[in-house]
């Protein structure tokens, strides 16, 4: 998950809480929770920890490399195909690989 609005909304829903319930438990207001979920306000790290705890969750921070733009473009092209088309396109790649004398 890479956006705070989605994180807050999904944690709240998974905990079966209304915005009002969550606000009360996390010591904030319902309009503040609504703003976080719409992405028009970003909670501080401390507030986000309280929101997570109120949903029975603990936050963790992770990092991953920024993908190469051409890899993303290629992935988007594959994503525009159906799974069956992707499967068949793989067969073509494998044939090309064999024609090019690639090793397995």
């Amino acid at each position: 998950m890479d956006s705070v609005d989605t994180l807050v909304r999904e944690m709240r829903r998974a905990a079966g809480l209304s915005q009002r319930d969550l606000a009360r438990r996390a010591g904030t207001s319902q309009p503040a929770i609504a703003r976080y979920e719409r992405g028009v306000a970003i909670p501080s790290w401390e507030t986000l920890q309280r929101v997570a705890a109120a949903c029975g969750q603990r936050l963790k921070v992770d990092a991953e490399p920024i993908p190469d733009a051409s890899d993303v473009e290629l992935a988007e092209r594959l994503l525009s195909m159906s799974p069956r088309e992707r499967l068949r396109s793989l067969r073509r790649y494998v044939r090309l690989h064999d024609l090019a004398g690639g090793s397995r």
Binding site: P67, L78, P83, R86, L87
Partner: protein, 169 residues
């Protein structure tokens, strides 16, 4: 028994998957093909499957592989039976539709009962594949050079999926 090396047969993933489905094998696709089917641009030359580990399913898997003339990588043809798939060891076979790895348990994600999967329709049949997040978790945990080399394409696919999802919302 004399040993001989089989000529490589190129992967025909559709034929392999169809044979498994037609024999009623309960399995999910893992590894690079699972990622490819979800949009990852990293090409793979074999199929990795994780079967449900029980004797009946092993019997069906053995029948499916026998129907494809499965042989050990050294070229030995041994008719397979269900009990051959009750262990935890990964096994590789060459078949008339290309190489297949049978993987009962994978690093970080566990076995058939543990993995998160999604169903993909492939025309006349459907299969289950592990989620992209599980493919990534497994590759990160394995950490072999070939796994690490696959990660950039997997991260790129995850980003493309997120961007697509945001556009759909």
């Amino acid at each position: 028994m004399s040993e001989r090396t089989l000529p490589d047969t190129a992967l025909d993933p559709e034929r392999l998957l169809r044979a498994l489905v037609e024999h009623g094998v309960e399995f999910c696709v893992i590894g690079a093909l699972a990622a490819w089917l979800q949009g990852s641009p990293a090409v793979t030359l074999d199929l990795d499957v994780m079967p449900r580990r029980d004797l009946d399913n092993g019997d069906r898997l053995a029948e499916a592989l026998n129907s494809l003339g499965a042989r050990s990588p050294s070229g030995d043809a041994v008719p397979l039976e269900g009990a051959d798939f009750l262990g935890w060891q990964s096994q590789r076979f060459e078949t008339e539709a290309g190489p297949i790895d049978v993987v009962p348990h994978a690093a970080a994600i566990g076995g058939y009962e543990d993995v998160a999967t999604l169903e993909l329709a492939l025309g006349e049949f459907a299969i289950r594949v592990i989620t992209l997040d599980d493919v990534i978790a497994s590759k990160e945990a394995l950490g072999r050079p070939k796994d690490l080399a696959a990660l950039p394409a997997l991260y790129a696919t995850r980003q493309a999926l997120r961007q697509g999802k945001r556009r759909d919302e």
